[in-house]
Amino acid sequence: MPINAERSRKKLTSLKVNGRVYEKALSPISTLLEILREDLGLTGTKHGCELGECGACAVLLNDVPVLSCLTLAVECEGKEITTIEGLADGNRLHPLQTAFAELGAAQCGYCTSGILCVAKSLLDKAAQEKKSNPGRELSRAEIKEALSGNICRCTGYLKIIEAIELTAERLNLFHRCEPVREDR
């Protein structure tokens, strides 16, 4: 759709990101990705392809992963947006962040933000389900399925899967069949 003066005129918009409300004049044709990065300075969310193909820009909208490059910012009014900057609880890192750093699941780190957001949503959902179903455990297949929209070019995924499993294990959501290979 062509851009004209009317369409690109900024509108006062209220966005709630990581618990904080931002009241800003935002262009209605801008994607959530651009607004987060350029207007709110939250550059942890990455610009990978702008086509919804790579998952690097994934954030949580009301706890559900969305691709911020395919979401208009104005659509997000009244919803809770969580980005990588909002994963830690103050200075306490989310267990996923710790596990990713420990196992070297972030190499170049460019896909990491998106992957962490998607993985958090997976773990939260499983934890929620565990309340009504105490036997609920995650499987490797479920992890692979949930992360199927996130591309990583460095790690070969193995360490990402291992880090998510380790976190799930620590949260009592995963039972390990084989030990993680120790680095010799």
Binding site: I3, T31, E38, G109, Y110, S148, I151, R153, L158
Partner: protein, 757 residues
């Protein structure tokens, strides 16, 4: 005087339990920055009054530009400037040479003339207040060209091809003995043609540059594998003194070769920022990355091998036809492995290069090695069946204590141990050598192997090590961490010399104002910058010792300096270990904020008379659907001899990542050009297939971990590339073992198998 602090074992006798930091599986120094979103990449610097630039590209693959119709775009609210060849600043000619760190990725400056060499070439740039407006402006601009006949088909262009006469100074063709004569007299003869497609690096972070002028100083936040190269090129091209240009690349979202040299968009960003006197950010789209920031060119490899019945190679010919652009003489040297692994008295390695109206190709992870090994290691597999020999035995038959190329002893080689350990971990013995005999859950199962190799490369590199008065330390070098782990490994090296915990050391990299380092390419960072860090740390300790022995308040005053060494954050007198002083005390008492050592280390002659090369053995298991031809790599093992390992954890990550990229090469990746327009059809991450999580099998990577002290003071050879090198061949060989079908054209897709199943 030099202090000998580099032999931890020797030191252990005089020191209580010296920790060996080199090799330890330390967590990444930047792990937390990357998992919290705090690591800033080139496009992550929000600046006041930022301008967004979007390149305007040529729709034609050749010919010349008539004009750009910019009126509609200029009327768009928010558009600030349309940079074109008519208003572009004149760029100064530069040396454009690797040795002087002035290499251009594309040997032509943008917007200096009207000539068009490939579809997607930049013909301008639209600058606007927001990204969306800039994108819309670029879309509205009509590029009017006079199109000429384009060279788009390798076969059609073959008559106009050229035969390169050298590869990085090595004369071509490479000739040993007399191939023709030996081949015609040999007992067993095999010939085959192997082809590999164009591939794109597609790092997760697109190429990006944020250009900021501060008076006549220019800062570029640039996604690059070589801050020093970028600084030199940009300064020389814009006619600025080099000290007025600073390149910052603290974090790079992957490179794999395509960010090695400066591409034209960087200059467009700098030129626009200069014109508007505002910061300008240019981030390439996936489509622009497909057209104009390099690719691995396609290869057509004609390979002939002669062998005795016992499996001793007598003659090899490897002729590669590959491609380059009309702008640069790039060579994908696929014959490299053929001339440098197995001993064979009669050899002919030659090349033929076709010029196409495509962008200039560039180095992509193991350039030449992984394309060449696909052919060589596949044909050796074919030979093993012809001779009824185990593929590993065939390879062992043809190894030598001397390098076949230079006829020099290896500086250090453990290739046999790689085969041994690899086959043990993989379970090679359980393989039934007969093809099509192994099955699992309705799938055909195949096991294949291949040799991996990468030459030992190092360049001059410099580093500075500072010991601060709070007892911490810093390592500074203008090298860069592409996700490889350089931030971590460099402080491990410093920790081992300074004898303090690496947690008290910070690495500062990716800034051209630090001591210069080479391109992070050719797997050379560890071997080039590592020794400089070691030497700089030794100099810092030495300087500290000098202060302490001249300091009358120190208990080390006037003691012989050769008997003082560092241990556990202190200087210790060898003959009386009660005489110690902690680093910070010495510095504080002498009113010093810090003390530093700087070192510029050039490759010395200790490796003279030897050939330095890394080797490995790679194994793959595949499952193939007997009716549909669907292929899955289910298991992979790689064992590598890459000298000393600096960090077991980051090393394993590098090797595994390379092996998965190898699955991409073997089964998925292929760039398709429109044969009529020369534009890339697969110019996005949906059509260009990169391995995803579902493609990633169980992978084991292991290392022989024996230092190569002749190569450098650390005995490290580097491992960024070797992981990918043997995967395509190991996979193709496994597919043959599963199905009895030999696919000689990458990627191995189901349609190629279906014909034969």
């Amino acid at each position: 005087m030099t202090l000998k602090i580099n032999e931890p074992k020797a030191k252990e006798s005089t020191m209580a339990k010296a920790v060996q930091w080199i090799g330890a599986p330390l967590d990444r120094a930047d792990g937390e920055l990357k998992t919290t979103g705090k690591a800033r990449y080139a496009a992550d610097f929000p600046l006041e009054r930022m301008v967004y630039g979007v390149p305007i590209v040529s729709p034609a693959a050749s010919g010349s530009l008539i004009k750009l119709e910019v009126e509609a775009a200029e009327k768009l609210p928010g558009v600030l400037f349309i940079l074109t060849h008519e208003n572009a600043k004149k760029i100064f000619p530069i040396q454009n040479d690797f040795g002087t760190a002035t290499k251009l990725a594309e040997g032509r400056f943008p917007l200096q003339d009207k000539k068009i060499y490939y579809a997607g070439q930049y013909v301008g740039l639209a600058a606007a207040e927001t990204l969306e407006i800039a994108q819309e402006a670029a879309r509205l601009i009509k590029v009017i060209c006079k199109e000429e006949r384009s060279a788009l088909d390798s076969e059609e262009e073959l008559p106009y091809s050229y035969f390169p006469d050298n590869n990085w100074g090595t004369p071509l063709p490479v000739i040993r003995g007399n191939f023709e004569k030996a081949f015609s007299n040999t007992e067993v003869q095999l010939k085959a043609v192997y082809t590999t497609p164009v591939e794109h690096h597609n790092p997760m972070e697109p190429h990006a540059c944020t250009a900021v002028w501060d008076g006549d100083n220019l800062i570029l936040y640039e996604s690059t594998q070589w801050v020093v190269g970028a600084r030199n090129v940009v300064a020389d091209a814009l006619g600025l003194p080099r000290e007025k240009v600073r390149i910052i690349s603290h974090f790079v979202g992957g490179g794999f070769g395509c960010k090695g040299f400066v591409w034209p968009h960087t200059l467009l960003a700098a030129m626009t920022a200069m014109h508007l006197k505002r910061p300008v950010k240019v981030v390439l789209s996936r489509s622009q990355m497909a057209a104009g920031v390099g690719h691995r060119p396609a290869t057509h490899q004609e390979l002939s091998i002669g062998s005795s019945k016992q499996g001793k190679l007598t003659a090899i010919k490897h002729h590669t036809i590959t491609q380059t652009s009309f702008l640069d003489d790039f060579l994908e040297a696929a014959g490299g492995p053929t001339q440098s692994i197995y001993s064979c008295p009669n050899l002919l390695v030659s090349y033929q290069v076709v010029r196409l109206n495509h962008g200039t190709p560039t180095f992509m992870r193991a350039p030449g090695e992984c394309t060449g090994l696909f052919a060589l290691e596949s044909l050796l597999d074919e030979l093993s069946y012809t001779l009824n020999l185990d593929p590993i035995e065939l390879r062992l038959n043809n190894l030598s204590d001397k390098s076949p190329e230079e006829e020099l002893p290896w500086s250090n080689s453990h290739i046999k141990e790689c085969y041994e350990l690899g086959s043990k971990i993989f379970g090679w013995k359980e393989r039934n050598p007969k093809p099509k005999t192994m099955k699992r859950k309705g799938f055909l199962v195949g096991l294949g192997m291949a040799t991996a190799m990468f030459p030992g490369v190092r360049s001059p590199g410099a580093a500075k090590v500072k010991i601060l008065s709070d007892g911490t330390a810093e390592v500074l070098s203008a090298t860069q961490d592409l996700g490889t782990g350089t931030y971590t490994t460099m402080k491990q090296i410093a920790a081992e010399v300074l004898r303090i915990s690496p947690h008290r050391i910070v690495s500062k990299l990716g800034d051209s104002s630090y001591p210069p380092a080479p391109v992070s390419g050719g797997s050379m960072t560890s071997a080039s910058v590592g020794p400089a860090v070691k030497s700089a740390a030794e100099k810092a300790i030495e300087a500290l010792i000098h202060i302490s022995i001249k300091d009358s308040s120190s208990c080390l005053y006037h003691l012989p300096l050769e008997k003082i060494h560092a241990a556990d954050g202190k200087l210790v007198y060898q003959d009386d270990p009660s005489k110690t002083e902690i680093f910070e005390e010495i510095l504080k008492r002498n009113n010093l904020s810090h003390i530093e050592g700087e070192s510029f280390v050039k490759p010395d002659n200790s490796a003279e008379g030897y050939t330095v090369q890394s080797h490995g053995a790679q194994f793959a298991e595949v499952e193939v659907h007997p009716l549909l031809g669907q292929i899955r790599v289910t298991r992979m093992v790689g064992v590598f001899d890459v000298g000393r390992i600096l960090n077991q954890k980051t090393a394993r990550s590098q090797a595994i990542g390379g092996m998965i990229m190898g699955i991409g090469m073997a089964l998925h990746e292929k760039t398709v050009y429109d044969p009529r327009t020369g534009r890339v059809v697969t110019d996005n991450l949906c059509d260009y297939l990169i391995p995803v999580m579902a493609d990633s099998p169980a992978v084991e990577a292991d290392f022989i971990d024996k230092p190569d002290p002749r190569f450098n003071s650390l005995g490290v050879r580097g491992l960024g590339e070797i992981g990918i090198t043997g995967v395509a061949a190991a996979t193709a060989n496994a597919v043959y073992h599963a199905t009895g079908i030999r696919i000689r054209d990458l990627p191995i897709t189901p349609d190629k198998l279906l014909k034969w199943l």
